[in-house]
Structure formats: structure tokens, C-alpha cells
Amino acid sequence: MGAVLLSELQMKAESRSYVDAMHGILAHGGWTTLAKPMLSGMSVTGFRFTVNRKLAADSSTVYNWMAENFLAADFLGITSSQQAGYSFDVTFPLYQKRAVSVIKRSIDHGMGAVFWKDGFVIAAGYDDERSELYYLDGSNDEHQIVPYADFGINRSPYWYYQVFDSRIELDELAVYKESCIQAIYKWETHDPMLPESHYACGRSAYDAIIHALRTGDYDRAGARQVFNDYAASKRDVQLYVDTLQGIWPQLSAAAACYTRLSQLFAEIVGITDSAEETASEAEWIRLVMDARQTEEQAIQSMESFMRETIDNRYNDIALR
């Protein structure tokens, strides 16, 4: 094959998370007509809340991609193939070759592919004669280039890709219900891959943020990015749960909480540019504490909605 470009593919970076890429690909491929907030909720990505204790900027992408991105697709009834590793690994060239081949095959079938280029991006085309892949990073509509030989070599030491293979029909109501349980799991559980000394997840993430803000021991530029990213996720989740309450009025309390949560995060982001840092920090802390309590209430509401299934999953509620 010579050159192929999926020119209609688009990507918009908002939460700067995996779902930005996933939505772009699935919407273009006709595998979803849903808006990104719905996908964010259904895939559970929007409910993830992990922070580096120093509020490093990459907090929103520090998680187990292989496990979680597989699930994100699986929750939607989409089968996928993916690989990840360190680019300095001796076996990297073998995986690099395979990755490029798999991505090209996906593009040939009209589907973009997700890969990591210091952020999740969409592979939208390739040119065998020039040995180049074309990708979108969501910042604009320009296709960027990565030579095959440079695929997977990033500022960060990781490489990763995911292609979507097939799609099955799922009862969307079942998917919505499952996402509620998974959201609770995310709230309560620390990601076993992350050292607790450096990272906090779910409810504990709020505690970690408050601690960082109080002690002043954190990366200021990073914190702004973290709040920006998660403000977009919380916005997505708000729209998602709002849709769910239309089906299940029992979720109206949760929907109200997520609406408030989204507003709080918008406020947090809003005071980012405040000139007086200590004043903004105090305000940040107040808003974050409020957000923590609000999200706690939302989760409790979802817990009572899904009580029966949660109880019957005993001590591992995330396992379907």
C-alpha cells in the first residue's frame, strides 16, 4: 500500500485524556453517535481521579493503560488490541515493528488508532514510501508526522498503542448501570500499580490535593494543568449523569451533586490566574474540600442505586 489518510478524522483535546482520542476514532468510524461526555461516563474514564502528590501535570494520564483502556473499550462492547512498554527495552524494536504494522492495518480498515506521544493521540494515516505515520494530537487539525523508526520514542520512556477490532451490541442501560458501580470502585480504591507514597486515587486524591495546597509542597504549573484536565472530566461526568437521571429518577441526587461538582471545578480553574498565590491557595482549599464532600454524596447516591449488584459482588465490586 502507498499512502492512506483518514482525512475526516478529528480530535479535540479537552480532558487531555484517553477519551479525547477514543471518541474521535469511534465517532469517525461510525461506532458511536454519542457525544464525548456519554462515552466518558460509559467507559468510566471520566470517573477516574488520580493525582501525583506533588500535583505533577501528567497526573491525569498516570494509570494502568493496558488494564484500564482495555476495559474502557470493553465496557462499550468494543474489542481491542493493545501493547505497551519501555522504549529502552531490548525487545522494543520487535514491538515497534508490530505496532506500526497493526496501526497501518487498522487505518486500512478505516479506523484510526490510539497511541501515546507524550499524550494520547490518534493515528490517522501513513505513507509507506516515506515510512511515516500521520497523527492528530487534538490541539488543532494539523496532521503531525512520526517516522516509523521513531514510533514509540517519546520524551516519556513509554510507548503504547490500541486499535479497535470489533463492536457488539450491548444494552446501553446495562452499560450505564455498570459505569455507576465502576465509578464507586474508582472512588474507593487505590490503583494497585501506583505507589501510595507518590499517588492518591479517588476520595484520597482530594485529601492529597488539600495536603499539597496546605503545605505548599507542590508543582504550581502542574496543579493548574491537573485542575484543568479534571474540570473537563467532571464536566463530562455531569452531562453523563444528567442523562442517566432522565432514565432513573433515583439518580437525580447524584446528578445534582455532579452539577455542583462541575461548577466547583470551573471555579477552581477560574481562580488559577489570580495574582495573589496565597489567596488563591486558600480559596482552592475551600473549593476542593467542598468538591470532595459533593462527590462523596454523589457516590453514596449511586451506591444505593446499585446496592443489590454491589452487595452480590462481595469484596471486589469492579469484577463484572
Binding site: 494502568n64 493496558m66 488494564a67 468494543i78 519501555y86 520487535l94 520512556p157 513509554y158 469484577l319
Partner: protein, 332 residues
């Protein structure tokens, strides 16, 4: 309609079933040369030791999430690998199954066997499109099992797993050995490798579970014997492995001595397992003796791990100085 049969693959059950299967596949494909204990050591499989608090037989294979554990094991050998698996009850299973069936056939066409969870782990060594079956060795007999394409992945457990292999690159021996020591340290120091389950312990903690399980009584009889048999086999593998690589670092020679002593110390365990009416059972009257041997062994092993740490500490560990984006996760 096609078929393939890799007659030269021979699965012999001695070690962990995954190690036995990996050895069968890689040696038949000329990707690995050497004795099984070398593969077991270099891949880190020998060092995996997990025990359920009730000494259930599943302990021996419950050393973590297989995808992650096996990928690290095989990657250290410089071999490309892909794995597939999950819960058979999940809605997407049939699609993954169909893909896996094709991937297995492709691998067999390329002349490389495939590891498959029967349960235990076995090796798929052939297929036949006309009969729509795979031929699988389980190590128990020369005949092997037959699995219909339609039933691929369906077994007595709720999960399925298969793994294919590809090209390989040369990895410097020292690099492989060093990483195997790191894997050993990780397994020793991580108390729970199948979170959120905390009824299965690993490494140092597994010793505690084994002792407590034996002491309390009420343990699974088959499981206890299986765990002890496997434990003894693994310790012998580690000893032989360390002997083979002892020239690489002086500390490894010392570690070999410790494991050599350990193997002697625990050699009495076999005598604590008695056979009655065709069934092997732990002799309850000798439980205290067993526990004493295990306690001594644990202390020796702890010293050996310290030696591994001393070696590992001399070199930067790129793989663990940054948090990866794959690895430990809860069952899904």
C-alpha cells in the same frame, strides 16, 4: 481446509505448569536452549511462590495477573509475545475467542506452539480445520486433549488465557540474570499479588500463610501436597540456576550456597507426605517438623534475597525508577 501439527513439542510436567509449557514451546521453536531450570530462573518463574490461607491447589498458579507476570517473564528472555484472556462470561468473550482461534492457527502455521489454560497451563501443538479442533498437550499422557474451536477458552474456571510468541532478540546474559534477581526480589517483598484478594500471599508472606495453614489444620489436603511438591521443585530449580550463573557476581555464589543448604534443610518435607490408599497426604503428626523446616528455609531465603538486593543496588533500574503504565491490576 488446513491443519498443522507440531509433533516435536513435548510437554513434561515437573515444575509450574506455565514453566513446563513455556519450556516445551520455546525449546521446540529453537528460541531457547538449555535446561528447564535455566528458563525457570531467567524468567523469574522459579522465584514465584504464592499460598492461599487454606492451602488450596490454585495457590500454585495464583502468582499474580498472568498477563503481566508472564509478559515480564518472557520479555526478559528477549522474546516477543502477545497474550489474550479474561472472563468467559463477559459479553465480548466470543469475539476475543474468534480472534484468538485465528491467532493460534497462525502461530502453529509459523511452527510455534501456543500456551493455553486448560486448567493448568498446557500447549496447543496442532489444529485441524475439518474437525474444527485444537490438539493440546497437558503433560499427563502422550495422547493429549482435544478442544473444539467453539469451546476454545471454556473450562472449569471462569477465565481463559492463551499466549503466542514471535521473534526474539539477543539479550546479554548479565542483563537477563540481573532482571531475574529483580523479579525475585519483587516477588519476595510483595505480600499480595492478586489484590483485592488478601487470602493469597506471596514470597515472604507466603511462608507465613503456609506455616499458619498447616498449623491451624482444616487445610485442603490436595492443595497442601501440591504446594509443597511445587515448593521443593522450585527451590531445586533456584539452586541449580544459581549454580549455573554463580560466576557472574560473587554474591551469586554465596546465594547458591544458601539455596544449596536450603534444599538440604527441606529435603525432609518429602518424608512428611505419606501415601495411603493411593492418595498422598501431609502426615498430621509431622506438621511441627514441617513447620520447623519451612521456618529455617525462610530465614535462608531471606538472606539470599539480601544478596540479590546487594547486586541489584549496584546498577540503575530504569524499569522501576519510573512508574510504568502497565502491570499490577485487579482481576477484570
Amino acid at each position: 481446509m488446513s491443519s498443522a501439527c507440531l509433533e516435536h513439542i513435548r510437554l513434561i510436567r515437573e515444575s509450574k505448569s506455565y514453566t513446563d509449557s513455556l519450556y516445551a514451546v520455546l525449546t521446540a521453536a529453537h528460541i531457547f536452549n538449555g535446561p528447564k531450570y535455566m528458563l525457570s530462573g531467567l524468567s523469574g518463574m522459579a522465584f514465584k511462590f504464592t499460598v492461599h490461607e487454606k492451602l488450596l491447589p490454585m495457590s500454585v498458579t495464583a502468582y499474580g495477573q498472568w498477563g503481566d507476570e508472564h509478559w515480564q517473564a518472557v520479555n526478559n528472555l528477549g522474546v516477543y509475545t502477545e497474550w489474550d484472556g479474561g472472563r468467559t462470561r463477559h459479553p465480548t468473550f466470543r469475539y476475543y475467542q474468534q480472534d484468538a482461534v485465528q491467532a493460534v492457527k497462525d502461530s502453529l502455521d509459523r511452527g510455534i506452539g501456543v500456551i493455553y489454560w486448560l486448567p493448568e497451563f498446557g500447549v496447543i501443538y496442532g489444529y485441524d480445520d475439518e474437525d474444527e479442533v485444537f490438539y493440546v498437550q497437558d503433560g499427563s499422557s502422550r495422547e493429549g486433549q482435544i478442544v473444539l474451536y467453539h469451546n476454545f477458552g471454556l473450562n472449569s474456571t471462569p477465565f481463559w488465557y492463551c499466549q503466542v510468541f514471535g521473534e526474539h532478540v539477543h539479550v546479554a546474559r548479565e542483563t537477563m540474570i540481573l532482571e531475574s534477581l529483580r523479579l525475585a526480589i519483587l516477588d519476595w517483598e510483595t505480600p499480595y499479588k492478586t489484590l483485592p484478594h488478601t487470602d493469597i500471599a506471596s514470597g515472604r508472606m507466603a511462608y507465613a500463610f503456609l506455616r499458619q495453614g498447616l498449623e491451624k489444620g482444616g487445610f485442603d489436603e490436595d492443595g497442601a501436597v501440591y504446594i509443597l511438591d511445587n515448593y521443593l521443585c522450585a527451590r531445586t530449580e533456584i539452586r541449580d540456576y544459581l549454580q549455573a550463573v554463580s560466576g557472574t557476581w560473587p554474591e551469586l555464589g554465596q546465594a547458591f550456597n544458601l539455596y544449596d543448604h536450603l534444599v538440604c534443610t527441606v529435603s525432609g518435607i518429602k518424608g512428611c507426605i505419606k501415601e495411603t490408599a493411593g492418595l498422598r497426604r501431609v502426615d498430621r503428626r509431622q506438621v511441627h517438623e514441617l513447620i520447623a523446616m519451612l521456618t529455617a528455609a525462610e530465614s535462608l531465603e531471606e538472606q539470599a534475597i539480601s544478596l540479590f538486593r546487594a547486586i541489584a543496588g549496584k546498577y540503575p533500574d530504569l524499569k522501576r525508577s519510573t512508574v510504568p503504565r502497565w502491570g499490577t491490576h485487579s482481576p477484570r
